[in-house]
Assembly symmetry: C2
Homo-oligomer: 157 residues x 2
Amino acid sequence: MKKPADFMKKAIDLSHEHMTAGHGGPFGAVIVKDGKIISEGWNQVLSTNDPTAHAEVQAIRKASQNLGCFDLSGAEIYTSCEPCPMCLAAIYWARLDKIYYANTRKDAADIDFDDDFIYQEVPKPIEQRKITMTQISHDEALKVFKAWTAKGDRTLY
Amino acid sequence: MKKPADFMKKAIDLSHEHMTAGHGGPFGAVIVKDGKIISEGWNQVLSTNDPTAHAEVQAIRKASQNLGCFDLSGAEIYTSCEPCPMCLAAIYWARLDKIYYANTRKDAADIDFDDDFIYQEVPKPIEQRKITMTQISHDEALKVFKAWTAKGDRTLY
């Protein structure tokens, strides 16, 4: 029976291996269900030119493809670093049960990644964020939300 | 010369069209650079079984593929709904200049999406979140961060 430290070792090994190969930053993750690894992810921001290709997001994408389902309830994620807000929110959307992490957002800040900065930005009121956010066309957009509510066959997620 | 309301109309049209087609929730987005749309995104959570396939994330992925670059500085995103924390953080990672949005996170909550709930969770101290987070194997993971710092040819992003 594998232990949490065994699964985390795999996540850390992925982080090292793919960092060395130049695929992206030093981040790896695995998703585990029923005691088995169902997907592996590593940072691919550099190799794919995709700023969303963080280890956890990649692992979630692969796990949902492997299971054929956007709901990963009953599974756990092991990530070599505390998830950034993008990855944390992705974990909530994927309904993962538990997060094991090793390095922290402060460790990531120490090696010049923006995780901690983005954690400070997300909870701010819209008008106080570094990025400008402007609301327009609310009435037109709200009509589509009302059409969604009126739609008989919608799937909630 | 197109105006912000024209670009937002496209984002809203995408949200309606793809919701109707059953691809996912009622969310659309476009990314604009130098007055032209460089990518379109819509929610594809249902059609792709990918919980990370939100409109903004999809638009960012396509824009970075189209430009061959993970850095979208100089571009703006028009999204039919205020970005959820995953999409907001993705926008920061992509270095987009500005966000135009139409519906709000409260409107999304009113039609049963979890955006507002996740906004409440992200800033909480780790031990107070609904999802359990456990730190293990810190020493082993920190060695990889130190190896990243020592790496001569790393690209910062």
